[in-house]
């Protein structure tokens, strides 16, 4: 396949059957629409391209910046598209909670503006939230911005009404599925696909999935927030159901471990929500049915999200020479030196504090190895000769005591911890320098 540019690779994603041994439904064929295979990484490539396309020429002429309220996938796609056309892109958000996505956007050259938290002391005369204020500046003429406005832009829906939806029908040999399940963010994909499917068969049942109220699943809305979305029409959905972050992660694990599908959390959520909903229907069926859910994007951007919620998935074997392996008695018995002794210390002085604090003020002649780095060195063995006396320095003498205990256990004969740390040193009036 030969293309002129990457936007031509958007769409025409495969529809892939999920193995019945995995989903356990007896009378329903379950298919995943693999939107994760879009070139910029997600379903949102379609909407981004559809919304941006008519704005590009004018924006390039005026030198405008493309701007969108997006926490992830739309921003990624728009950043790429803007870059291809020599335009700048800015993402405004109050919900960018996934560090990988943030870093990726910066890498793509996007600017990110993060909106402030709520005021601690309420100002009742402040009736406009920062988001609406931002919205107004963006849409005023001559602002220097073109705003794609995904939560209200009908072209977001059209991208799926003319793309995603008809592709599903085509791949099912001209039939609409009986059930369609999708997570709701801007509602663009679910609304657009639903329209296309119902043109073929008005009886298609559409299930929209949102996050539970206090939960967070990156990319989609909670049951309350969905009402703030301009494109959201309750009538589109036969049911709106909630999924939890835990369920989304369970679904994700099934997809990545058993279905060869590196899906992100909303793909996992859609799978879980689909199976949960269909299981109740399955038992009473007498003929075969078809269901489709959407896998929106890929798992790689969500590693820290997963690590935070399921640390056990990333469990690593314990490392040798770790201070966590010390017992209280060993730490209490760690050899110490008081300020007087430390003033006359004949050997090496190692300061475990942060480099900034060290550079600002330290004990004359000391060297700085920040504790994290020191811990890393010790996993490998003793980093200095046994004949070299070592004095360890930290803020209050606690961390240094742990490391002194560990070094003692590792066989170092003359290591000491500065009792009371550098704060005691300062309080005793001993000299601190900066170089």
């Amino acid at each position: 396949m030969r293309y002129e540019d990457m936007t031509e690779a958007i769409g025409n994603t495969p529809l892939v059957r999920i193995d019945p041994a995995v989903h356990g439904l007896r009378n329903i064929d379950l298919y995943a629409k693999m939107e994760l295979l879009n070139p910029f990484g997600s379903l949102k490539d379609r909407a981004a391209w559809q919304m941006a396309r008519p704005l590009l020429a004018g924006a390039a002429e005026r030198g405008d910046t493309v701007v969108e309220l997006s926490s992830g996938n739309t921003a990624k796609a728009l950043a790429m598209i803007a870059g291809m056309h020599g335009l700048r892109f800015k993402s405004v958000t109050n919900r960018m909670k996934v560090p990988e996505v943030k870093d990726l956007l910066l890498l793509l050259g996007a600017e990110i503006d993060e909106l402030p938290g709520q005021a601690e002391c309420l100002d009742p005369s402040d009736t406009e939230d920062p988001l609406s204020r931002m919205h107004r500046t963006l849409t005023s003429n001559g602002s220097g911005y073109v705003h794609t406005d995904q939560y209200f832009n009908e072209r977001n829906v059209e991208a799926h009404q003319h793309g995603t939806g008809p592709e599903i029908v085509k791949d099912l040999d001209g039939r609409a599925p009986d059930y369609f399940v999708a997570c709701v963010g801007t509602a663009g994909s679910s609304t657009g696909v639903a329209r296309a499917l119902r043109q073929h068969d008005p009886d298609v049942r559409v299930i929209g999935l949102v996050a539970a109220k206090s939960d967070f699943i990156p990319g989609i809305r909670t049951i309350d927030e969905v009402h703030e979305v301009g494109l959201f029409e309750p009538g589109v959905y036969d049911a709106i159901e909630t999924i939890t972050a835990d369920e989304a992660i369970d679904g994700l694990l099934t997809l990545v471990r058993r279905c060869g599908t590196p899906a992100g959390p909303t793909g996992g959520g859609a799978f879980h929500g689909a199976v949960r909903h269909l299981r109740t229907v399955d038992a009473g069926l007498t003929e075969r049915r078809t269901a489709v859910f959407i896998v929106c994007d890929r798992v790689e951007s969500y590693l820290s999200y997963l690590r935070e919620r399921r640390p056990a998935l990333f469990g690593r074997p314990p490392r040798r020479n770790d201070t966590r392996g010390l017992d209280e008695a060993e730490i209490a018995a760690a050899p110490t030196a008081d300020v007087e002794e430390a003033r006359r210390w004949p050997g090496l002085v190692v300061d475990l504090r942060s480099p900034y604090a060290f550079q600002a003020l330290h004990i004359d002649g000391s060297i700085n190895i920040v504790d994290e780095l020191f811990a890393e060195l010790l996993h490998g063995g003793l980093p200095f000769s046994r004949r070299q006396p070592v004095l360890l320095v930290c803020p209050v003498g606690e961390k240094s005591a742990r490391y002194a205990a560990l070094l003692t256990r590792m066989g170092h004969p003359s290591v000491r911890s500065l009792a009371g740390g550098i704060i005691a040193w300062r309080d005793a009036g001993a000299r601190l320098v900066r170089d």
Partner: protein, 484 residues
């Protein structure tokens, strides 16, 4: 799917508040004698709150002072009780400073914040407290007063504002206060110019936000500022991170979630209104889409007060990528805080008498206090009052009411929210608005219409039972009086 269960917003009441509410006879006697509304403060509750913050300090091995932000309540009893602990006080006016000095705080435990007039600056300099300077000109004005009066050097901190973030740009609300952090070197020049009058002890910020990320940026910037002081051989050892630690007002977070969901449904016309004249608390219905933002204090905040401080100290500094608490310690830096609201958690309640219960389309309950006497609504805090029946035996009967105030103003509703009470109130009953010591008690009260401002009494435990005195008569010595 409208929810038909009653939409309660039950306040979180710790044992001290619960214990006071069981004293129905005493509370009725007090309101009979002193009138409605009546403000009740509970100085003892301060001890647990100070200890809660101290525990976070200990956990992070940090030193520094807890300055109570006096503005949250004018009570003498609370201030004098606090003077008996190891906490300090943050004063924001001449009157507050006089009050603090007269309540037993030595100058080493008082910090003046906010913009100051000459008289305030003079008394601050004369009494030797620390001045947290709000602007460059304030530093000069203070120095001039010190020089003119040949006063000893005054300890100063510089309040910084407008902190810059790299990579992701953090948009913060504009503030009227403080020196833009970009002008730090001018501020330090100014202090050095007046080195005989001013002694720099550190830098400060106070951000009016619940956003942890903004505060993490500010705190890390203050560490950088302190480093700059050290580069100039100004040994400054403190960072004051202001207040804003928040309070968890509700007993059950689920109630808050349900209430706010249902409010949105009501605004969209999908259920019966929950508010007077369909007030939306900031939400509005535009063609079936919910617009605006909920202008309410997040009343359910399990991670508030000391817990919030703990989270900030454990948060990773955006640039140096090490926990902020660790960085403070690495830099040998003392941490000062100025909690107002959070130190007054559970420290008082407002009592009001029910004057009339009027039947109609809605049940209207008219109270002998107005919305400024208990300014929950003004501050966007929604929580239910507790009914204290006039004769001690209440008949449980879930009742939806609107609470009206005693001013003849259409807008004088204690809250525009329809309140669900577990018992039906009757004239002569008392309503207790609990946990209102921080900002909701005397901050906004006025004598409009010649309505009285509530008297204030302090309740304290003596010999196993509750005693009381007028707020101005409270001194933290009743225990020893009993022992004598």
């Amino acid at each position: 799917m409208p929810d038909s269960l009653p939409l309660l917003l039950t306040p979180r009441m710790e044992p001290i508040t619960q214990s006071v509410l069981t004293e129905g006879a005493l509370l009725r006697q007090l309101t009979d004698g002193l009138g409605s509304p009546l403000n009740v403060v509970l100085p003892e509750a301060l001890d647990d709150n100070v200890e809660g913050f101290r525990a976070v300090y200990r956990h992070h091995r940090l030193r520094g002072q807890i300055y109570f932000a006096h503005k949250a309540n004018r009570s003498s009893a609370l201030l004098r009780h606090l003077a008996a602990t190891d906490a300090g006080v943050d004063v924001a006016s001449l009157g507050e400073l006089q009050h603090a000095l007269g309540s037993g705080f030595g100058p080493g435990r008082i910090m003046a914040t906010g913009p100051k007039n000459r008289e305030f600056l003079w008394l601050a300099a004369r009494s030797g407290i620390t001045v947290n300077a709000d602007s460059l000109d304030e530093l000069s004005e203070l120095a001039a007063l010190v020089a003119a009066g040949r006063l000893p050097r005054v300890r100063v901190m510089v309040r910084l504002a407008e902190f810059a973030s790299r990579g992701v740009r953090m948009v913060s609300r504009r503030s009227r206060f403080g020196v833009p952090s970009g002008q730090l070197s001018e501020a330090l020049d100014r202090v050095e110019k007046h080195a005989d009058q001013l002694e720099l002890t550190g830098v400060a910020y106070h951000l009016d936000t619940i956003g942890l990320a903004e505060k993490a940026i500010a705190l890390e910037s203050c560490l950088v500022a302190l480093d700059e002081c050290r580069r100039r051989d100004r040994a400054a050892w403190s960072i004051d991170i202001g207040g804003g630690f928040g309070v968890d007002y509700l007993a059950d977070g689920q109630q808050w979630e349900r209430y706010t969901s249902e409010l949105a449904q009501a605004m969209l016309g999908r259920r019966a209104p929950l508010t007077w004249n369909e007030h939306g608390y900031g939400l509005r219905n535009e063609a079936g889409t919910l617009r605006g933002t909920l202008g309410l204090y997040p009343a359910s905040r399990p991670d508030s007060g000391p817990g919030y401080l703990g989270r900030l100290l454990s948060a990773t500094a955006p640039e140096q990528r090490r926990p902020l608490g660790t960085l403070l310690l690495d830099s040998m830096c003392d941490l000062d805080i100025e909690p107002g609201r959070a130190l007054l958690d559970q420290c008082g309640l407002v009592l009001a008498r029910v004057l009339e219960v009027r039947e109609g389309a809605d049940l209207l309950v008219r109270l002998d206090l107005n919305a400024r006497d208990v300014s929950l609504e003004e501050h966007g805090v929604l929580m239910d009052p507790v009914v204290i029946p006039r004769d001690g035996n209440a008949v449980p009967e879930t009742t939806e009411v609107y609470l009206l105030g005693n001013l003849c103003l259409e807008s004088d509703l204690i809250t525009r929210r329809k309140v669900v009470l577990p018992v039906r109130p009757r004239p002569g009953d008392l309503l207790a608005f609990v946990n209102t010591a921080g900002y909701f008690m005397d901050f906004s009260a006025t004598r409009a219409l010649h309505q009285p401002i509530g008297r204030k009494v302090a309740l304290f435990r003596q010999g196993g039972s509750w005693s009381w005195c007028l707020d101005e008569h409270y001194w933290p010595v009743h225990e020893s009086r009993e022992a004598a």
